[in-house]
Symmetry: C2
Subunit: 192 residues, 2 copies
Amino acid sequence: MVKSNNTTRNKLIETTGKLLQLHGYSGTGLNEIIKQSGAPKGSLYYHFPEGKEQLAYEAIERTKENVTNFIKDSLARYDDPIEAIQNFIYDSAKRFEADSYFNGVPIANIVLEISKTNDRLRELCRKVFESWHEAFADKLKSGGYSDEESWDLAMTINAMIQGAFVICLTRQDSKPLLVMAEQIPVMLIKGK
Amino acid sequence: MVKSNNTTRNKLIETTGKLLQLHGYSGTGLNEIIKQSGAPKGSLYYHFPEGKEQLAYEAIERTKENVTNFIKDSLARYDDPIEAIQNFIYDSAKRFEADSYFNGVPIANIVLEISKTNDRLRELCRKVFESWHEAFADKLKSGGYSDEESWDLAMTINAMIQGAFVICLTRQDSKPLLVMAEQIPVMLIKGK
DNA sequence: GTCTATATACGGATAGAC
DNA sequence: GTCTATCCGTATATAGAC
C-alpha cells in the first residue's frame, strides 16, 4: 500500500461520492467536485490522471467499504437475523430522516445511468451489490438458514431495501422503509 | 383535448422516454433525441416550447400510462393475486431478457438523479409510483386482503421489483427477478 | 503538488428565414 | 411546421509555469 494519506486526494474522493449519489454520473461535474471539496483547483488531474472515470471508480470503491461496514456493524448488534435485519432497516430509515448527506441512493443512481455505456464501472457496482448481498447472507447462515435459502433471502432483502430507498427519495419520507421492516418477519419466519 | 396526433411530437416523446431510461436526465442530450427520433431538427422547440424539461415531463407521463397498463393487463390474467403477481414478475423477467428497449429502469433512473433539484419532475415520478402501487393494491383487495394489508404488501412488492430490476441491470441477467417471484407466495400466504 | 490558461466539444436554447 | 445559423454556458481535458 504505497498510497499516501493525502488529504486533498481523500477529500476529492469523498466529495465525488456524495455528488454522484445526489446527481448521478453525468450530472456531476468536475468543477463542482473541486468547488465543494475545497481541494486545490490544479490538483485533480495530478491525483487522478485518468480523470472523471478514475475519480468515480475510487469513489465507488470507497462507498462500497463504507456501506458494507455500516451493514455489518448494524447486523452484528443482534444475534437473531430477523431482529438484526429489521433493526438495520430502522437504522437506515433514521439516517434517511436525519438527512446529513445520506439523501440519495449510493450505487443505484450511478449504475442505472452507466450500465449500458461503461462496463468497467458497471462491473465495479456489481461487486458492491455482491458485497452487501454477502453481508445479509452471512447473517442468515449464522442464524441457521441453509446456503440456498440464505442466498435467495439476502437477494430479496437487498432488492427490497434498495427499492424502498428509491421510493423514499421520491416521496421524501421514510415510510416505505418502515413498511419493509414490518415485512421482514413475515418473509423470514418459516423454513429455517 | 386539442392535442393533435402529430407523429413528430409523438416520436420525440417516445425517443425521449427510451433515452431517459437508458442514460438518465443529464445523460440524455437534445441532439441525441433528435437524431434517434428521426424528427425534423427544427421542430423540437415548436412542439415543446419549454424545452428539455417539458419533453421529459411528457415522456414520464407516457411511461406512466404504458407501464401502468402493462401491470394491470398482466395482473388481470389470473384471479388469484399470488398467481397474478408472480406471473407478472415472470413476464417482466422475460421482457428483460428479450432486451428490445426494456433495458434500463424507467422512472427510478430519472428520479434518483433529479429528486433534489427538480420538484416538478420528482412530484410527477411520485405519481407514477403511486399509480403502480395502486394497481398492485387493487389486485390484492380484490383477492380479499384488507385495505391496510393491501397497501403495505403492494408497497413491498413495488419496492422489491424495482430493486430487483436495478440488480438485474447491474448483473445483466434476470435472476434477481426470478428470485423475487419465488418469494411472493411466502409473503402473501398468511392473514388473508 | 498546485496554478492559470486554454483547447475543444457539446450542452440547451433562441432568432429569423422559409 | 420545419430549417439553419448561432449564442452562450459549461463540460472534460491538456499544457506549461511555478
